[in-house]
Structure formats: structure tokens, C-alpha cells
């Protein structure tokens, strides 16, 4: 099984924005033959293209051929607007009835149905509609979008899991499914305790910036920013690492009293973090089992010894040098790094292999 758990699985990617491209990237890494139809230029930035197109074959062909390829595939992943597939002769229901084992995954901002289904969206508007944004940012300022393109990536992450689940179902039952993934729904159900609290108590939670409370926050440190997230059971270890005799007092020890003195505790943490460097903070955290973290930039992680030892990063040759990108999401199943293909470079080979005689 060195070829990967999805070896022999044929995947057709249509649309090709971040959601579809990320879902199929993991399929390619785990061994599937992923074929990406060329999409509207500009859907991916150059850097996104390096990350998300690696390991895939790329074709340029006409609509009729795409229809035949879809029926030759095991999984079709698409992120076009609702109705676009049907207008291109790729109606998922029709594809499913012609090939019951096929799995089709459609990823859209709002899903295939409902009053907003046809609305335009971008990463930030989806992030807003999913609820996470209302909780993110400083209380006295406007809500803030989390970095990168998280709403789009979450769509891809969910689509990947749903697609392989449906594929497993097709191996067992002989029938795939059509899966309607809405970016809004991917996020609306992951609002930690705040979502259920809003539903149960009928009040909105306010964004709390970098400090949910003193022992659950992010602080400037001597060489950047670092943080702590201590549960009640970890408070004694945190206090002992801080080593401040003032903390040995009822107002800090007692979990019911502590919130009344949160500003005071926060001031102490500002002082403590400010005098220390990230490496020292992390080392103390590991030694005393205190959940400390430090803000790492991508460059820090590319140089990180643990990640090197665990082999997180793949190397991919680009026209601008060798890029290093996150590879396998977890260890335990074979992963292949893959290479970058030129646009349309694989058209002839794919048509021959997927649609050739005797197939």
C-alpha cells in the first residue's frame, strides 16, 4: 500500500477555487489520481496555486469531454455557483443516476438551496456569515477576519472528509451520494461554547480580543508574542512557574474569586511574559505541564526541529525555486509529495487513460 490508500481512485476537480482545490489536494497526497480542469484565471494566487495544485494532473478540454470524464471518475469535487454544473451538462443528480457509485461534492458559500444560495461571496463575507468573526477581534474595535482564507479552507477540509466518507460508503453499498457543503454551515456549528450559549440563553457573546481571561490569553514577550491557556487544574502549576508570592492568596487561588481580580492577574502576566523569550516560556511549559504557546511565523516553523523530524514539509519545484509546503496532515498512511504540472499539460494522457478504449 505504498501507493497510498486512495491509489486507483479517480477524482475530477471542477471550479478550482481554494475550497475544491484544498479538498482534492489531500486526495492527491493519499494516492488518488486527481485531475484538475482549468478554471477561471485568478481564482488562485500564485502562492495558492503552488500549494494547492501540487500532485494533480491538469487538463484543458471541452465541455463534452468533461462530462465523459465526470462519469469516468469516482469522486467529483466542484465549487461553482449553484446551477452552474447543470448548465454545463454536469447536473449532479443526472451524473448520480447514470453512475450510482459516483460521489459528487459541491462546495458553495451558502449551499445549493435557500434564499442566499445565489449571492456572491468571498472569504471574509463567508467568515462573517459563519459567526466566528463576531467573536474575533478587540472588543473596542471592529470584528476581525482570521488570517489567510480560513472560510475557504474550512470548506475544503469538510469536503475532503465528507467525500472520502461517501467513497467508503460506495465501496460498501455500491452507491455514492451528492454532498451539499455550505461554508456558512461548516462554521456555524463550530462556535465552541458561544454557539450553544447563544442558542440556549438567547444572548450574543462579545468578542474578547486576546484575553478571554488572564490565564487564557496572548501577551507580548521579550522576542514577540506568547500565550497561556490554563484550565483550572493547571492554575497551580502556572502560579508556581510565575513564582510570585502575591499569587498565594485567596483572591487568586479561589476560582470563584479570581475573575474579580482578573486585571491584577493580567498585569502580573504582562510583566512575566515581557521579561521572557519564547524559547524559555515553551521550555517551562513542557517541564511544568503548563499550556504555554508562542506565536510562530511560517519561517519559524520551516526551521522547526520537531516538524523537520516529523517530516511535515514537502518540497516542490517551481519556476521560482523550491517551495516548502505542509504535506501530510497526519502520520500513519502513505503520502506522496507530488509535483507541479503545467496548465493543460496532462490533457492527452488523462483522456487516453480515463476514456481510452476498453475502459
Amino acid at each position: 500500500m505504498d501507493d497510498g490508500v486512495l491509489a486507483g481512485v479517480r477524482v475530477l476537480e471542477i471550479g478550482g477555487g481554494v475550497p475544491a482545490a484544498f479538498a482534492t489536494r489531500w486526495m492527491a497526497g493519499f494516492g488518488a489520481d486527481v485531475v484538475r480542469t482549468e478554471s477561471t484565471p485568478g481564482k488562485l494566487t500564485d502562492d495558492e496555486a503552488v500549494y494547492l495544485q501540487t500532485g494533480k494532473r491538469r487538463i484543458k478540454t471541452d465541455a463534452a469531454t468533461v462530462q465523459r470524464l465526470a462519469l469516468a471518475a469516482d469522486i467529483v469535487v466542484e465549487d461553482r455557483k449553484p446551477g452552474t454544473m447543470a448548465r454545463a451538462g454536469l447536473d449532479p443528480e443526472r451524473l448520480r443516476s447514470e453512475k450510482p457509485a459516483l460521489t459528487v461534492v459541491s462546495i458553495t458559500p451558502y449551499g445549493q438551496t435557500g434564499p442566499y444560495a445565489d449571492f456572491e461571496a468571498t472569504n471574509i463575507t463567508s467568515f462573517a456569515m459563519g459567526g466566528i468573526m463576531s467573536l474575533t477581534g478587540m472588543h473596542q474595535r471592529e470584528p476581525l477576519v482570521t488570517g489567510g482564507s480560513q472560510a475557504l479552507y474550512l470548506g475544503g477540509l469538510n469536503a475532503f472528509g465528507a467525500a472520502v466518507a461517501a467513497y467508503l460508503g460506495s465501496l460498501i453499498q455500491g452507491e455514492g451520494d451528492w454532498i451539499d457543503i455550505s461554508l456558512q454551515e461548516c462554521m456555524a456549528g463550530m462556535l465552541e461554547l458561544y454557539g450553544p450559549r447563544g442558542a440556549y440563553e438567547g444572548v450574543a457573546s462579545v468578542r474578547s480580543g486576546n484575553h478571554v481571561r488572564a490565564a487564557w490569553g496572548l501577551y507580548p514577550c521579550a522576542d514577540g508574542f506568547a500565550g497561556v491557556c490554563a484550565l483550572e487544574r493547571q492554575i497551580p502549576a502556572l502560579f508556581s512557574v510565575l513564582g510570585d508570592p502575591d499569587l498565594d492568596d485567596e483572591r487568586f487561588r479561589n476560582p470563584l474569586e479570581r475573575p474579580n481580580h482578573d486585571d491584577e492577574l493580567q498585569a502580573k502576566l504582562y510583566g512575566w511574559f515581557g521579561e521572557r523569550r519564547k524559547a524559555e516560556i515553551l521550555e517551562l511549559g513542557a517541564r511544568y505541564k503548563v499550556p504555554f504557546g508562542a506565536v510562530q511565523a511560517p519561517g519559524d516553523l520551516l526551521a522547526n526541529e520537531t516538524l523537520r523530524e516529523r517530516g511535515l514539509f514537502d518540497e516542490v519545484a517551481t519556476g521560482n525555486g523550491t517551495a516548502r509546503i505542509p504535506g501530510r496532515p497526519f502520520l500513519g498512511l502513505a503520502w506522496r509529495a507530488g509535483q507541479l504540472s503545467e496548465p493543460g499539460a496532462d490533457t492527452v494522457a488523462v483522456i487516453d487513460e480515463w476514456l481510452g478504449e476498453g475502459r
Binding site: G114, G137, T146, V164, D177, R310
Partner: protein, 408 residues
């Protein structure tokens, strides 16, 4: 009726907090039977994080616990006790998957590492989801979602632009991301088992999974040495983008003006003056922000969102944790579902985001009460006698209430 893909799969769930329980809830939505295992002495602290006032058993009455643990069964077992461990190893042969999110060394310290589980069931699938993985110099670090966000690179990318200060995401973002990846890991391992007859040991580091959601930042860093720059809510690829305050308390709408065409459409529908004189990009963006903000300020957020969206310009209301439960689109898609709970009044819970249009996953049942399925699993599935079960109970190895309810 069509079956769900994980119908017939049984999962022993040793996870607590959010990442792991979120994973196993999604696995349950996909049809798996999930047995949540907690010790009467070391149980899922989420149970009492927000207890309802005035109830006798707060560990059974948390909406927070409920939403991430519904559709599961509850078995209590003290795995640190030889009798509890023995019972667990009798359960493993009946399970396809064991999922755990302890710190890296804990499962091995309990004497329940992969080798031991494999002796109990040769094709067992073990998914471990420690913060930093099972190997490497950082495996001993302790981490929850916000820490994972810092250590993954994501926190370095979020900020208003003030002096490089990073801003945390308002939820423990690393948790649900790792949870969804763990679901995929289980499914892939099941496909692997089906093809080869072999089990698998998945070593998932939550921090690494989150790094995969910012892949392009590693391209920029490795090719050009570029590190993240905070642009607040702006996006360099668009003409303009921001979040604008609307009428009401803390009501906001995000708008992306992708190009000049969007600007023209936005101005046409709002009456905003379109003409922009010659000015720098920054000055132009500031002027666009000023004009949009002026139009939004006295309008209802829903009106702003729908008016702009209907004009073909991307807009999104910053739905908060109250208004998201009132959103008419989610309502029409029947996203919120009310399930009865024996201790609490009904509330809106999210259905599966994985809408299998044909197999239709649906919510079944509230989160289990503490140890609710002890008899069913120990007596029914494992065939223990009433005396055996009574002995476990007397020894505190199982229980229907926490031995230390104040902790948490």
C-alpha cells in the same frame, strides 16, 4: 432507506474537551456507534464548564457538553485501575476504532499503547490526536486550541496591523479543525483496512493540521522569505474590502469590492458617489471605506447585507451567536434542530454540515448522561454478570456520577 457510510462501525472514544469529541460526534453523524469512555475520577471537564443553575447533577446538564457529544453512548471506566483497563481491553475487540486526545505519553503510560490494543484486536485503528504529535522534541508540550493557533503559524497572520500585534481567533480554532481532520483519518484508515485487512496507527498533531490551512504562507516564506503582514480586514487582491458598522448595537456587515465593476454596482444600488479622483491606493481605499461606512451607519444590517448581495457584490452580515440562530437562510435550510433533553429546555443545535442529499444524516439523541450505557455495554456487549458489574461499581471503576464533582 440508504445507509450512512459508517453504519456498523463501532468507536471507543477516549477523547475529552473539544477537538476529539467534535470528531466523534461527526463520526456518529456519519452512522458510527460511538462509546464515550470517561473515568468516574477523570471525566470530560466540559460537562461542568457551564452547568445549569439549580440542578442536582450539573455534569448531565450542560448545553455546551451536549452539542459536541450528542448521538453517543456513555461508559464510565477508570482506565488507571487494572479492572477498568481489563474491561476496556475486553471492549476493544468489539470496536473498529479507538480515538484519543491525551497528551502524547498518557496512553502508553496507561499501558494501552498501540501494541497493546493490537494484541486485543489485530486490525484495530488507533487515532491519536495530541497537540504536537507522538514524536519529536515538542511532544511533551501541553496545548489547547488557542495555543495550537499560535504554534501553527495562523496567529501570526491575524491582526489589525498595529505594531504587528497578532490577534487570536475568537474560538479555540485549532480544535474543530483537528477534529474534522481526525474524522477524515478514521475514514481513510477504514478504507485502508477494507483494501488490505490491516489496521492503522494515526499520529495526528493538531498543530500540524492547522498549518495545512495556511499553505500559501509557507510558499511565500520559503520562496521569498516573506512573513505575514497584518492588513486588518483588507485583502490585497481586491479593490477594497472592509467591515462596516450598521444600525443597532454591535451590528456589522463585511463587504468585498473585488474590482471596479463591483464598485460600480455597489454605487448604483446604494447611491454612493462613484467617482474617485486620482489618488494613491491607500487613500482611495480609505475614501471607499468612508463612503461605504456612511451609507451603512443608519441602515439595518440585514438590509445592507441583502441589498448589496442582490446587486452582485459580495457581502456578509457579521452574524453573532444570537442572530445566527435567527438567520432566515439557515432556517430555510433547516440547519438548526431542537432535540429533547432530560435536564434542559429545548434549544437550537446545528445539524451535520455534511449534507448527504440521499443518505441524509440526522440528529438522533441528546448527549448521554454520565455512565448511562454502562449496563448495556458491560452486560449486553461484553456479557459481564450482574455481580461483576456490581463489583466494578463498588470499587469506583464505573459509576453514574463523578467521584469528584467539584473538579472541572
Amino acid at each position: 432507506m440508504k445507509r450512512l457510510p459508517l453504519d456498523g462501525i463501532r468507536i471507543a472514544d477516549l477523547t475529552m474537551m473539544w477537538a476529539g469529541p467534535y470528531a466523534t460526534r461527526v463520526l456518529a453523524e456519519m452512522g458510527a456507534e460511538v462509546i464515550k469512555i470517561e473515568s468516574p475520577r477523570a471525566w470530560d471537564n466540559i460537562r461542568t464548564l457551564i452547568p445549569q443553575p439549580g440542578v442536582a447533577d450539573p455534569w448531565n446538564s450542560s448545553y455546551y457538553f451536549n452539542d459536541y457529544n450528542r448521538d453517543k453512548k456513555s461508559l464510565t471506566l477508570d482506565l488507571a485501575d487494572p479492572r477498568g483497563k481489563g474491561a476496556f481491553l475486553r471492549l476493544v475487540p468489539h470496536c473498529d476504532v479507538v480515538l484519543e486526545n491525551y497528551r502524547a505519553e498518557v496512553l502508553d503510560n496507561l499501558g494501552l499503547g498501540h501494541d497493546v490494543l493490537r494484541e486485543a484486536r489485530e486490525d484495530i485503528i488507533l487515532v491519536s490526536m495530541a497537540g504536537y504529535g507522538k514524536t519529536g522534541a515538542e511532544r511533551g508540550h501541553v496545548g489547547f486550541g488557542p495555543i495550537i493557533e499560535q504554534m501553527s503559524g495562523l496567529a501570526s497572520m491575524t491582526g489589525y496591523g498595529d505594531e504587528g500585534m497578532p490577534v487570536k481567533t475568537g474560538i479555540s480554532y485549532g480544535d474543530p479543525v483537528a477534529g474534522k481532520a481526525a474524522v477524515a483519518a478514521v475514514v481513510l484508515a477504514l478504507i485502508h483496512r477494507r483494501k488490505t485487512g490491516e489496521g492503522a496507527f494515526i499520529d495526528l498533531a493538531q498543530r500540524e493540521v492547522l498549518s495545512t490551512l495556511i499553505g500559501e504562507a509557507f510558499v511565500a516564506s520559503s520562496l521569498r522569505g516573506e512573513e505575514p503582514v497584518h492588513r486588518g480586514n483588507r485583502d490585497g487582491r481586491y479593490f477594497a474590502q472592509g467591515v462596516y458598522r450598521c444600525a443597532g448595537e454591535e451590528q456589522w456587515v463585511a463587504i468585498s469590492v473585488r474590482d471596479a465593476g463591483d464598485w460600480e454596482r455597489l454605487c448604483a444600488v446604494t447611491g454612493i458617489v462613484e467617482h474617485l479622483g486620482a489618488m494613491s491606493n491607500d487613500a482611495r481605499h480609505a475614501e471607499i471605506d468612508r463612503r461605504i461606512a456612511g451609507w451603512c451607519a443608519w441602515r439595518e444590517p440585514q438590509e445592507v447585507f441583502e441589498t448589496v448581495s442582490r446587486a452582485g457584490v459580495p457581502a456578509g452580515r457579521v452574524l453573532d451567536t444570537k442572530t445566527i440562530h435567527e438567520d432566515r437562510h439557515l432556517e430555510e435550510r433547516r440547519y438548526w434542530v431542537e432535540l429533547p433533553h432530560p435536564r434542559m429546555h429545548a434549544w437550537k443545535q446545528p445539524r451535520s454540515a455534511w449534507q448527504f442529499i440521499e443518505a441524509r444524516p440526522r440528529l438522533q439523541r441528546h448527549a448521554p448522561l454520565f455512565g448511562e450505557h454502562n449496563l448495556e455495554i458491560l452486560g449486553g456487549l461484553l456479557g459481564m454478570s450482574a455481580e461483576e458489574i456490581a463489583e466494578l461499581e463498588a470499587a469506583g471503576v464505573i459509576g453514574d456520577a463523578p467521584a469528584n464533582p467539584g473538579v472541572g
